[in-house]
Symmetry: C2
Subunit: 227 residues, 2 copies
């Protein structure tokens, strides 16, 4: 009998291993947005053949980090105001749905664990005021768990695997840390309370507002940057 970790899969294939590295590089901006991707170059850089690299690129395309045109190659996605709007329009709907489902299907135990996670975030936040990385990670962590709580595999896949790397990319490269931290925590708290009360409708509404507020926050930043 073999004991293995509950959720995470080993990801032993070298394509997987390289994928996460390129994902990080793109999200962090080490590979510049809009730049062309050279398969031979990347293959050399990571000491692998082009076959697993192309597998990785296919998955990068899947999460909208690169765009491929047949016979012409791949480019890192170009960030834009419009793109961000389009992204958040979908997040609003899908994460709202996730909340509604989470309120119905999350185990009481899961809710309690999420509760304690939030408390933990709060103390972290007090100590490291405004440190963007923790805010960012914590925020995503909360959203992740709620999405997982929906128990809908398609929804989980779409949000966690396909959309969230792009969300992170926008946040990182446009420097979204900001003073919204404490308010975001309060909103998380309210959402979780609604879920705890099994009030899906309210949780849905609150999540939509939460994301909408987040979007408006980013819009303001963008407007400032363009001045």
């Amino acid at each position: 009998m073999e004991v293995l970790s509950p959720i995470a899969k080993p990801a032993v294939t070298s394509a997987d291993r390289v994928l996460v590295q390129i994902q990080r590089a793109v999200v962090e901006g080490e590979i510049a947005a809009g730049s062309k991707i050279s398969e031979p170059e990347l293959a050399r850089k990571f000491n692998i053949s082009r076959a697993p690299l192309r597998e990785a690129l296919a998955r990068l395309e899947r999460c909208h980090l690169i765009e491929r045109t047949p016979n012409a190659g791949a480019r890192v996605v170009q960030l834009s105001y419009q793109g961000l709007i389009h992204l958040y329009q979908i997040r609003e709907e899908l994460e709202g749905l996730a909340c509604r489902l989470a309120a119905e299907y999350m185990a009481t135990e899961e809710i309690e664990q999420l509760q304690s996670l939030l408390d933990q975030h709060l103390s972290h936040q007090r100590v490291r005021e405004g440190e963007s990385y923790y805010q960012e990670a914590g925020d995503l962590d909360f959203h992740y768990r709620v999405i997982l709580g929906s128990k809908n595999p398609y929804l989980i896949n779409m949000l966690c695997d396909e959309l969230y790397y792009l969300v992170r990319m926008y946040r990182v490269q446009m420097g979204m840390n900001g003073p919204r931290v404490s308010r975001a925590f309060d909103e998380h708290k309210a959402i979780l309370t609604a879920i705890g009360n099994r009030d899906g409708e309210l949780a849905d509404l609150l999540m939509r507002r939460h994301i909408s507020a987040s979007r408006k926050n980013i819009e303001i930043k963008l407007a400032q940057q363009e001045k």
Copy 2:
């Protein structure tokens, strides 16, 4: 100067060509649901190497038609009641959103074209009463156009490229033709009217109801089949 068709891209790569064939085979059930996929076998069948085949398989996974496990291979997805519910939960949200956006962003010309398409469908429907293929194709066509009208690339990609093949697979393999045809056409009409009036909120609501009704219709069929 080269003249090419307005939307469709040539898809010259052999991976693309094979992809559509396998997609069709899976959707139509020629390759049975739940069955294992053998790369060497399929490669021989289509007279290509394993490289482009694997590229095609990667995209099949993307649209949820197959599931791959590292080092173990791919299986055609197993249809289930739960899976259908999960699928329609997402469709409801996303296509509702698509309607709201379409009401805002569709060109008046596009709306008129869609109007005439509906009239066309109506006459077809009168002639070929209950012929499932036309109903199916027509229905999807309407939904497609509304989704395209949203002008949101992520939304379009998710619905048209990632979810709709699976929707078709459920319809085809579970034989969803049925007596809902005329009512569906009326609902399409009402949705389009709302879009024409630029009433996004109403279009959203009507589309959600439309899909919800469609889901309930399927649920009934399923319940009958299980007897």
